[in-house]
Amino acid sequence: MPFSPFRSAAADPDARVRAVEALLSEHERALVRYAARLLGGDVERGRDAVQEAFLRLCRQEDIGGLGREWLFTVTRRICIDVQRKESRMTTIEDTDAVDALGDAASAASADEASGSIGSDDELLKALHHLPDRQQEAIRLKFESGLSYAEIAGVMGTSAGNVGWILHTAIQGLRSRLVPEGGAR
């Protein structure tokens, strides 16, 4: 890593606290939003995950150079762990129920996946029907404001691939979008 303003933070506890608090103030909201989305919209659990991510940050030997990308990466990992544990918990009956719901939902919303998009509401529904990785890249870009390089770090891929994913996703939406204020 190149020069970091937080380089000396490891030695000085006060500087360390300030560095962590600065990261916290700057990113907590975006992180909670991101984590909550990954956890099915559960804000409380999203907070838990983000808190855990910051606690892990505090346990790092040298937090200089660790920033947004690291926080998103770790938060994402925590969320995935949580979901994995929960999916093991789900009983067979639950799975059937979820599948049945899923079938019903997809039948009812074939339109949302491919129809034209007029309102914000329809746009959000269309977003939900994008492949997971496209959704995630879009959220990291347009909700959290990460750069291609940062998204690549978080999602474990290359920046070029992130560009391709975003391009594909937006391109798909663009072709279906009815201009704002225009006819539905």
Partner: protein, 692 residues
């Protein structure tokens, strides 16, 4: 570039639209800019892309709703603490950390030994300022004395009860439910200061009542009530403490607490005071102590602390208990009505347990751990300390925590006793790798061999409700939702086989000041708990409950006769409100200062009984006053500072800190030390520039 280039298929245009310069070479940028000049199709694709991007960003932002809040104050504070500890701190609840806690507990255990419990019976501090207390029985309605000095409208209350307006019954709700519904629940204030029924049109005392009411309302601005106007103060006890917990969380976060959410009495009653319990056999559910001392901010004024202490539980009749609390410390438990409530409830429970009962505390979050190994109640200090240390953080792995809790319960199994794991959670119970089937099997198996499982749901536990109930059914225990401290006390008492616990309900206090001694007074706090004087004898009028072993404190600032100069008294009301026919209570004879009257219902009874206690002012200075009075004064003053109350405008937080520091006393559980630190934290935050 080629005219045929399909820009809509070129991801570089997307990178250009998003200004991702790091992803584009100089040539890329030049190429795109040239195409934008020459190719309308390219321009259109870019414009559409930018529009789509904007709409996606706006749509996502508009849908984000409450998730923009970020972390809670407590979470931030904990992270700051972890940052300070640094990398060397290791994981919370790691074996190393747990080891240090148990080592500390063991050390304390050795140091404290069995002495802790003796202290309770060793008598209270008999400072020179302890007022003399004489108890007088006061059976309202049956005794000749009862009506004396009471508001004229309540004279002969037994005969008039039917005519006194009562609030309309709210559906078929239980009185307790109604009680909480008509008051604030944790942390949320309901508007309205007076809960009293409307005056009756034909009430011959209407004018007088109105005068009283005005006096109270005027009291919000000019805080003192003239004894010549109204020598009484009538209010309901309050055992809530959530206001303190919320304010503390705010201050630790570095933010000013909401001044409207500061309730002084909840600050005062957050702390324990060492008042004597009623003597065995005197038949009273609680004892009343009156302490006096000079007001530190105005030495001519007197502070009067009225402390009530309920009798303890009947320990001998209970089976010995071996309890393992399994506490969810995941991040969502940070809210004041969750983990802080768990801590308080467990702390108070320890007061009701037998020295031979055992308590262990296991926690679970991202990892499970033992915060306190099974410890006999004789070492209550150690238990309290470990409770204070519980902090929330991380995600949830309940399954492993539950196994740990069972292991501990097994290890200290009491034949013929209550062996129980008590899970305290907000419903976020993640069983980990084995799946729910295996877990329920484990719970049923443990129950079959004598270790039961109860589940206490905290906060808005709509999540996982049925699941929690199912688990507790498997474990032969019960499931209860806990939304207030009172509820916590009751439920926990049932957990240890006690029959709580409420030793008295609808507890009302009426304080009558001796006009020969007192010119004016103000009740500190209890704004939402004040009652019309007539309500004191109205059995229909509900009020607070007091549970076994618990205490309630009320604090008055009193202006003695001859010290009225400079005190702003509401004169115009005085004119309205002369009551020449008022008879003096017996306690007024000679140099009596005050008569404290209590009305309450015994458990299960629908009619109230009561007694009165007289207090005299021993004339102590502030420094010579009992520690509990001094500490209550510090806490009350701090609460008023946070409220921005004009009464304490001349008092600095540094002074408050000093008073509290010198009045820590034995400080079981370190609550008072915690208060001192909180004040220091607040003082730090007030320093301009040096904000940390």
């Amino acid at each position: 570039m080629s005219e045929q280039h399909e820009w809509k298929d070129d991801p570089r245009l997307m990178a250009f639209a998003l200004e991702e310069w790091a992803e584009l070479s100089e040539t890329d940028v030049e190429e795109i800019e040239a195409a934008l000049e020459s190719d309308p199709a390219c321009r259109q694709v870019l414009e559409e892309m930018i529009e789509v991007n904007g709409r996606v960003a706006r749509a996502l932002a508009s849908a984000s709703g409450p998730t923009t809040e970020g972390l809670t104050g407590a979470a931030r504070a904990e992270i700051a603490l972890a940052a300070r500890r640094g990398a060397s701190s290791g994981r919370r609840w790691s074996p190393a950390f747990v080891g240090s806690v148990t080592a500390a507990a063991a050390a304390l255990l050795a140091a404290v030994g069995l002495g802790v419990f003796d202290r309770e019976h060793a008598g209270v501090e008999q400072g020179p300022a302890d007022a003399e207390v004489a108890a007088v029985d006061l059976e309202a309605g049956t005794s000749e004395r009862a009506p004396e000095g009471f508001n004229a409208s309540t004279v002969g209350s037994a005969g008039r009860k039917g005519t006194i307006a009562t609030p309309p019954a709210a559906g078929a709700a239980s009185p307790a439910a109604e009680f909480f519904a008509t008051r604030r629940s944790l942390g949320r204030g309901l508007p309205g200061r007076h809960r009293a029924p409307a005056l009756e049109e034909n009430d011959s005392d209407g004018l007088r009542q109105q005068g009283m009411k005005l006096a109270v309302e005027a009291g919000e601005e000019a805080p003192f009530t003239s004894v010549d106007v109204d020598p009484f103060s009538t209010f309901s006890i309050d055992v809530d403490t959530a206001s303190y917990s919320s304010a503390r969380a705010a201050i630790l976060e570095g933010r000013a607490p909401d001044s409207k959410a500061i309730r002084v009495e909840e600050f005062i009653n957050y702390f324990r005071y060492d008042d004597p319990a009623p003597r065995a056999g005197d038949g009273r559910p609680f004892a009343v102590t009156v302490q006096t001392g000079a007001a530190p901010w105005e030495p001519r004024h007197r502070l009067v602390r009225i402390g009530m202490k309920a009798r303890g539980m009947d320990l001998a009749q209970r089976r010995r208990a071996n309890l393992v609390f399994l506490v969810d410390v995941s991040g969502s438990m940070q809210q004041p009505d969750k983990l802080p409530l768990v801590k308080r409830a467990l702390g108070i429970l320890t007061e009701s347990l037998h020295p031979e009962d055992r308590v262990a505390v296991a926690v679970y979050a991202s990892a499970e751990g033992l915060a306190l190994d099974s410890t006999p109640l004789a070492a209550r200090e150690a238990i309290l300390q470990s409770l204070e240390r519980l902090e929330s953080g991380g995600s949830t792995n309940g399954g492993a925590g539950l196994r740990l809790a069972y292991a501990v319960a097994r290890e200290h199994f009491v034949e013929g006793g209550v062996n129980r794991v008590i899970l305290c959670t907000d419903g976020d119970f993640n069983v980990g790798v084995t799946g729910p089937g295996a877990l329920e099997e484990l719970i049923a198996e443990e129950a079959a061999t004598g270790v039961e499982l109860s589940v206490l749901g905290f906060g808005d536990s709509s999540r996982g409700d049925e699941r929690m109930e199912a688990l507790s059914n498997r474990g032969d225990g019960n499931y209860a939702l806990i939304d207030s401290e009172l509820e916590a006390r009751k439920v926990l008492a049932e957990q240890v086989g006690g029959t709580l616990l409420t030793v008295a309900s609808d507890v009302k206090i009426q304080v009558a000041w001796n006009p020969a001694q007192v010119a004016a007074f103000r009740l500190v706090g209890y704004e939402n708990r004040r009652l019309e004087h007539r309500d004191f004898l109205d059995d229909e009028k509900d009020a607070g409950e007091i549970g076994a072993g618990h205490g309630v404190t009320a604090l008055f600032e009193v202006v003695p006769r001859g010290a009225e100069a400079g005190v702003d008294l509401p004169r115009e009301i005085e004119a309205l409100e002369r009551a020449p026919d008022r008879e003096l209570p017996e306690a007024y004879a000679g140099d009596g200062l005050v008569e404290v009257r209590l009305r309450y219902k015994e458990p299960g009874s629908t009619s109230s009984t009561g007694f009165a206690v007289a207090g005299r002012d021993g004339g102590a200075t502030f420094d010579g006053a009992p520690v509990d009075l001094r500490f209550a004064a510090a806490v009350a003053t701090f609460a008023q500072i946070l409220r921005g109350a004009p009464e304490v405008s001349g008092v600095s937080a540094d002074a408050v800190r000093e008073w509290a520091l010198l009045a820590k006393g034995d400080d079981p559980g370190g609550l008072r030390e915690g208060f001192v630190q909180l004040v220091e934290r607040w003082i730090d935050a007030q320093q301009p520039g040096e904000k940390r």
